[in-house]
Amino acid sequence: MKQLVTLRINDTDEEIYVEPWWTLSYVLREELNLTGTKEGCNGGHCGACTVLIDGKAVMSCLYLAMKAQGKEILTIEGLKGHNGPLHPLQEAFIEHFAVQCGYCTPGLIMTAKAMLDENPNPTEEEVREGLNGNVCRCTGYTKIVEAILSVAEKQKL
């Protein structure tokens, strides 16, 4: 039986009826039309569905929407720049050509955001380790790592 829940997504309260077995990724994509969050493997292996819950990276395909009540959910649609529409990570991914097919990109950017929020000055090894749960089949990761490190560099200035 569907239940009414309030989910706080990108600073907006969404009142929505959900089945208890609906995952957060399903609700985001199919009920709220927030299709920036992707579903890849649907099993917690690929990281395409990564969103932030209370600031932490989470696989939304393994997270029941019911359990997200009372938490702050941030998706790729909620990212903002300081003085423009794009977040520095999004700009860096474009600048460094860290996007090819683009399917893994929202998950990678959300993972990178959580990583830099926690550790603003990571080593290359820490970045690579932090991306361990995100699969990209196009780029070979090098440009993604460079993009993330460039944002960390700019934050230092």
Partner: protein
């Protein structure tokens, strides 16, 4: 996936629900294992009981004697990043840091990792090597089992009708003992272990004391390598002895062939990783193995 979702607010309510819906209700904590089992139709529970709203089960704290007390709902990532745990039980922080990706560790719980009872559970070998005990609460009250005896088979534990795992008790580690958890997996932490080895030992003027070695992913449950431990006990740890202990561990492991590796390969890797783990805890190697990291 279809189920009724129940959210008890106390342990008593939860155990009553499990007693009532015996066999039909599954616990959800973080859900990173359970959602996969349900989605792949490995299980079809009519009821899913979310214990995440029960307060007071997610602690990571030390008691006055230096024992580590971990609530079943403690988040894996918190064990990994706790400064106290890193300092006083570093092998637990290390094992927690190798359990899946950060996004899994942010949600997964220690109780979930143990109760899912995968033979490859990354936190199990380290906790077993440290002599951890599990506090179980059920309709009849509390009981405690040694964690080593908690697992009875793949996906199987000693939990009886209505019982839930509530807390773990990890004895203090003496300051002169060392521990290490080495995981061999094809995608690093993000993948399940092909082999996991935890070793804990104290060196007393070149003599090995209280060696404990626990293996993951190479038997129906996480297991102690007792023959290897016995070989090391009270001895001077020469390279030859360490080699013999590593071979003993390989011989007592009971791996299977699956999608990740063959049984023969696993047995060989038990030998290699056990040797590295012993070298590390006996002070033969300062880092987690310059040799080990090359492969990990």
């Amino acid at each position: 996936m279809r189920f009724q979702f129940l959210q008890p607010l106390t342990i008593q309510e939860a155990t009553a629900l499990f007693a009532e819906y015996d066999g039909e209700a599954k616990v959800i904590a973080g859900g990173t294992d359970l959602i996969n089992l349900i989605r792949t139709k490995a299980i079809r529970p009519p009821y899913v009981v979310d214990i995440g709203r029960i307060p007071g089960l997610d602690h990571v704290r030390y008691d006055a004697n230096g024992a580590l007390i971990i609530g079943a709902l403690a988040i894996i990532r918190n064990l990994e990043t706790s400064n106290d745990v890193k300092q006083r039980h570093p092998v637990i922080a290390q094992a927690a840091g190798q359990l899946g990706s950060v996004a899994i560790r942010n949600v997964g719980t220690i109780g979930g990792n143990l109760c899912h009872a995968s033979p490859a559970a990354d936190t199990a070998p380290a906790l077993i090597a440290l002599g951890a005990k599990a506090k179980i609460i059920g309709p009849a009250g509390e009981r405690t089992v040694v964690l080593e005896d908690f697992f009875t088979g793949p996906g199987q534990t000693v939990l009886q009708r209505g019982e839930i795992l509530a807390e773990l008790y990890v004895p203090p580690m003496s300051p002169d003992s060392k521990g290490v958890y080495l995981k061999h997996a094809s995608r690093g932490a993000a993948d399940l272990a092909i082999v996991g080895v935890a070793a804990v030992a104290t060196m007393d003027r070149g003599i090995c004391r209280n060696a404990k070695i626990a293996l993951g992913a190479v038997g129906p449950t996480p297991m102690r390598a007792r023959n290897a431990e016995t070989l090391l006990e009270g001895k001077e740890t020469s390279d030859a002895l360490i080699g013999q202990a590593a071979e003993a561990a390989a011989a007592e492991s009971r791996p299977i062939t699956d999608v990740r590796a063959s049984a023969d390969y696993r047995r060989e890797m038990v030998q290699v990783f056990t040797r590295w783990a012993i070298r590390r805890v006996t002070g033969k190697e300062q880092e987690v193995g310059s040799e080990a990291t090359a492969v990990l």
